[in-house]
Symmetry: C2
Subunit: 258 residues, 2 copies
DNA sequence: TATTATATCTCGGGT
DNA sequence: ACCCGAGGTATAATA
C-alpha cells in the first residue's frame, strides 16, 4: 500500500524514485533542495527542507513546511525525468501546454514514501453557486413577486448570465449571483450583460445583483450604473431546497410542521 | 528530521499524531478515510485512500491520489483535535474566520510521517504583473512616444489603476496591464476606471489596455467602449530590465553589445 | 481549442 | 478589519 524508504546512497534513492514514477505510484520525497521554474513566469527558490509530491497521474506539488499553497507545482506533466548530476538528484518536470518546466535539485534526500492508493470515493459539494442558482430558479418569489424565469445560464454576447426572466411588467431581468460577498467586480460583470443585451435587442433590461452581502463600493457602483441589488439569506435558500426534496405537501405545510 | 511510523494499533497511531501536532511538526497521515466539510460551503467525501498533510503552522491539506488540487483543506486552523471514536480516528480542524470545520474520519491508518523541516530559503518570482508594471513605468516609450507616467497603482474610486500619466497632448491616460491574455473582464476593469475618473474630474481620459495578447471579444469590447489597446512583448520588457540592471551605459549600447 | 466564470479559491497590500 | 486585485492561479463548462 505505502512503503517508506530511508535513503542511504543516492543510487538507491534514484532507483526507488524512478520505479515509483514508472509504476505510476504516489510518491513523496522529503529532503533538502532548490527549485527553479520557467514558463508563464519564472521563479527561483534557494535551499531548504521541503517535500515533493508526485501523484499517480503525474501532478507535481512542492510544499514548504508551512502554508496552504505549494511553492512550486506542475499540474499536467508530459515528462518527469530523474537523474543524478553533480552529486545532486535532479527532477525535471515538463508540461507542454503551456510550455513550462520545473526543476528540483535535491542536495540531500531524507526519505521517500511511495505506493498505490485506491480512491473511488464520491465527492459532493453543497451550496455552491450552481445550487443557489437552481434554488432561485425554482423559487423566483425569493427575489421579487411576479418574477418569472425563462432561462438559466443565458448566453449574452460571449458570456453567460446566471438567470434571465421577466418581471410582472414583462421587462427583461438579468440576474447575477454571488455566493459570498459581491464586490465591484460582480457589478461590472452584471453591467456588461445589461449593456450587451440592450445593444442587441434595443430593450433596456433590469439588472439585479444577488448576494448574501455587498461591499460598500459594490452598492455605490450599482447605483451609479442604474442597476439593482437584493440580499438573500443562504439558510432560507437551504430550507427551500430541503422542503422541495421532502416533496410531501406544500412549502407552507413544511414550515408548519417544523 | 523525518520519521515514519507504520501504525499497528489505533492507540499508538493517535499518540504519534497527537505528539506531532503538539510539537508543531510536519505530519502526513496515509490511510482510508471519509471527509466532511462545513463552512462557506459544505461537502462530503465517501471512503477512499488519501493522505492528509498537517503543516507546521497547522495548515491542513487533504489529497486524493491524483490531481493538483486538494479535495479538502483548512488554511488557518485555530484548533486541531484528534480523538478515537467508534473505532475510527477522527481529526477535527476548526477555523475561526470564517467559521469552518473539516472532519476526517480514518477507518484505517497505514502510516504516518512526521518531523520538523527547516526551510529558510528565499523565493523570488520574475515577470509577474508588478514587475511588468515597474518596467513600463520606467520606460513609457514602450507604449507611446511622449507618454509620461505620474503614478503607479493610482487610486481611482475604490480601486487602483495600474498606471496613470499624461500623453503628449497632456490628456490623462489610464493604463490597465494583463500579464498573459487580456479578456473582456480586463476591458471592463479599465472601463470602470475611465468612467469613474471622468465622473470625478469632468475630463475624459484615454484608457489603454496593455497585454501580450487579447481575446477577440476583448478587442470587440475595447472598440465599443471607446478604449485603446497595445500589445507588448514580454521578452523585450525583460531585455529592458536586464539593460537597466547592467547599469553601464545606455540602452542603445546594451543592445549593440549583444 | 479558446473563452468564460467559479472557487471553501489563497495571498498580499492598502485603507 | 474590510476591501481590492493578482495568481505560473486550477478547474469545469461551453461554443
Amino acid at each position: 500500500m505505502i512503503e517508506y524508504t530511508k535513503c542511504g546512497s543516492n543510487d538507491q534513492c534514484v532507483e526507488v524514485i524512478k520505479n515509483a514514477i514508472r509504476n505510476k505510484e504516489l510518491l513523496i520525497i522529503f529532503g533538502k533542495c532548490t527549485v527553479d521554474y520557467q514558463g508563464r513566469a519564472a521563479s527561483k527558490l534557494t535551499e531548504g527542507e521541503r517535500f515533493v509530491i508526485i501523484k499517480q497521474d503525474g501532478a507535481i506539488i512542492i510544499h514548504r513546511p508551512t502554508g496552504y499553497s505549494p511553492v512550486n507545482w506542475q499540474p499536467n506533466t508530459s515528462v518527469i525525468e530523474v537523474v543524478e548530476r553533480d552529486n545532486k538528484i535532479v527532477i525535471t518536470a515538463i508540461r507542454n501546454k503551456p510550455r513550462e518546466i520545473v526543476w528540483v535539485y535535491f542536495s540531500e534526500i531524507y526519505g521517500v514514501i511511495h505506493g498505490k492508493l485506491v480512491d473511488l470515493g464520491e465527492f459532493v459539494m453543497y451550496m455552491d453557486e450552481n445550487e443557489i442558482r437552481d434554488i432561485l430558479y425554482e423559487n423566483p418569489e425569493l427575489i421579487e413577486k411576479g418574477l418569472r424565469f425563462l432561462e438559466k445560464e443565458k448566453s449574452i454576447g460571449n458570456g453567460y448570465a446566471d438567470l434571465f426572466g421577466v418581471d410582472k411588467n414583462n421587462t427583461p431581468v438579468i440576474i447575477e449571483i454571488k455566493r459570498i460577498s459581491a464586490s465591484r467586480e460582480a457589478v461590472l460583470q452584471l453591467f456588461n450583460y445589461v449593456k450587451i443585451y440592450e445593444n442587441m435587442t434595443g430593450v433596456k433590461p433590469r439588472g439585479i445583483l444577488i448576494a448574501p452581502n455587498f461591499t460598500s463600493s459594490a452598492i455605490e457602483s450599482i447605483h451609479k450604473l442604474g442597476l439593482e441589488y437584493k440580499e438573500i439569506n443562504l439558510q432560507l435558500l437551504w430550507k427551500y431546497k430541503k422542503a422541495k426534496e421532502a416533496k410531501h405537501g406544500t412549502l407552507l405545510e413544511f414550515f408548519q410542521k417544523k
